[in-house]
């Protein structure tokens, strides 16, 4: 460990109240006499304050999205009746399951293919396989400590993502397809499988994979799943109102890039 890092660790340990009484006293004395330490100390103090503010923004978004979810479930319309019902956690679980099933059924009906409309030109303008996100996943799995580099080459998710990145979509599909049966932890695999299927024009299969992902609260690419679902539905000639509804939802997204591209595609479709 280098000296700089040791120095910094001391500051953070102090700020995070991890020091013993004796260590605190010694550190405070150094702060009074060492100007460089005092300057660095105030920089880290501000850095932690900034991280708190950033974290708070995330918490705010979480609360807001939970409020929005309740709104979509009609909780605020009938909250008096619902409250007495959701007081029981078993009932709450059933409400969640019923709501998820209803959303899935509605999505299938809404997005049922309709051969009359197919704005292929618009699709080509907007469709782009999102490799930035893929990089993020792969870099997370790189052998920097999370993954054992020896067994990395045997793993079908890693290999599938790598094949997708190399634009070898057929191979990506063959690696990722078995993951369809896996639990939620395979959601990124399902997502990139759907994108690979879009690339080989298997749009309906992609739609079938993307719909549950758009309904998965814990999946961090949920918004992106909606975006690709809207595009695949549009390209497959599905009900254009379904596409518009998804785009309208995305145009309200807290991710500014997503909101902006969804908004402009929506404007083109009107």
């Amino acid at each position: 460990m280098n000296e700089d890092l040791k120095y910094q660790m001391e500051i953070i340990r102090y700020l995070e109240h991890e020091m013993s009484e004796e260590e605190r006293n010694a550190f405070e004395s150094s702060l009074k006499t060492n100007k460089d330490l005092a300057r660095e100390f105030s920089e880290y103090q501000l850095l932690l304050e900034g991280i708190d503010t950033w974290g708070e923004q995330l918490t705010k978004e979480k609360i807001k999205s939970y409020d929005k979810r309740l709104e979509q479930e009609g909780y605020f319309d009938k909250s008096n009746i619902v409250t007495s019902f959701i007081g029981n956690t078993t009932n709450l679980k059933w409400i969640g399951i019923a709501a998820s099933i209803a959303i899935l059924i509605a999505a299938y009906i809404f997005l049922k293919p309709n051969a009359n409309i197919g704005p292929a030109i618009t699709y080509n303008t907007y469709y782009q396989a999102d490799t930035k996100l893929l990089d993020r996943f792969i870099s997370f799995y790189q052998p920097t400590g999370l993954v054992n580099s020896d067994s990395l080459q045997k793993d079908s998710l890693y290999l599938g993502l790598q094949a997708f990145q190399q634009r070898n979509y057929g191979q990506a599909i063959s690696y990722l397809k078995p993951l369809q049966m896996q639990t939620k932890s395979a959601d990124p695999g399902k997502f990139y499988l759907a994108l690979a299927l879009i690339q080989v024009n298997e749009l309906q299969q992609a739609i079938d994979l993307l719909i549950p992902l758009t309904n998965s609260n814990s999946f961090e690419l949920r918004e992106e799943s909606k975006w690709y679902l809207a595009l695949s539905n549009m390209q497959s000639g599905g009900n254009i109102e379904g596409t518009k509804a998804l785009l309208r939802e995305l145009s309200q997204s807290s991710y500014s890039n997503m909101a902006s591209k969804a908004g402009s595609l929506l404007a083109e479709l009107k």
Binding site: M1, L5, Q8, M9, I12, E16, H17, E43, Y44, L46, L47, L48, E49, G50, I51, D52, T53, W54, G55, E56, Q57, L58, T59, K60, K62, I63, K64, Y66, D67, L70, E71, F76, S79, N80, T83, I86, G87, L92, R136, S139, F140, Y141, T144, G145, L146, V147, N148, S151, L152, K154, D155, S156, L157, Y158, Q182, T183, K184, S185, A186, S218
Partner: protein, 194 residues
């Protein structure tokens, strides 16, 4: 544990953030109705109640994060206390009720031009830090979020990510060090420190 789950421990990190999600859900389940009724009885609408409840949940969560935080009465009373204060403040802002806040006015008078400028600079720096958080690697963002915002111990993060505890201890400092360097090297920082 199968091969997939064994390798992609990253998804277990969600277990550590799950606690926050559950707290939010429970707050709504337990207290939203009563908060709503209070707002409706006191010149507010359902929309006001929803906005206020979001603020309330954030205030409450921030309090819970403090290591020395203790609720003197019950959670229910504490929540209603926050609710009443926040709503009273809203009414005052809308000039529906007139409550003189002498301290507030006094504090305002005490701010010098120099202090106002210092506060603005600080706000810009905080804004820069937030933007930098969005630019660092996902791995560092996760570790910083868990360690410094959710205040999870290195051992807990190690359990969730599959790293060793020692690795997390060093990694979190390295991430923070890298972040500080990005900030100090940024043009915004240089302008603010001219």
């Amino acid at each position: 544990m199968n091969n997939l789950e064994d390798h992609y421990q990253v998804f277990k990190v969600k277990d550590l953030t799950h606690e926050l999600d559950e707290r939010i859900k429970n707050l709504y389940k337990l207290y939203f109705e009563d908060v709503k009724n209070h707002i409706l009885k006191n010149s507010g609408s359902l929309e006001d109640a929803r906005d206020l409840f979001q603020e309330l949940a954030l205030v409450y969560y921030k309090q819970l994060q403090k290591s020395d935080f203790k609720i003197e009465t019950s959670e229910k009373n504490y929540i209603y206390g926050i609710c009443k204060n926040l709503w009273l403040k809203k009414l005052r802002d809308r000039k529906i009720v007139s409550i003189p806040d002498d301290n507030f006015i006094d504090n305002l008078k005490d701010f010098s031009q120099q202090e106002i400028q210092q506060n603005q600079e600080k706000d810009s720096l905080i804004d820069l830090i937030c933007r930098t958080m969005d630019q660092i690697t996902e791995e560092c963002r996760q570790i910083i979020y868990l360690a410094f915002y959710l205040k999870k111990s290195s051992m807990e993060i190690a359990g969730a990510t599959g790293y060793s505890e020692q690795f997390i201890k060093v990694k979190k400092y390295r991430c923070l060090q890298g972040m500080r360097k990005m900030i100090v090297d940024s043009p915004t920082y240089k302008i603010l420190n001219q």
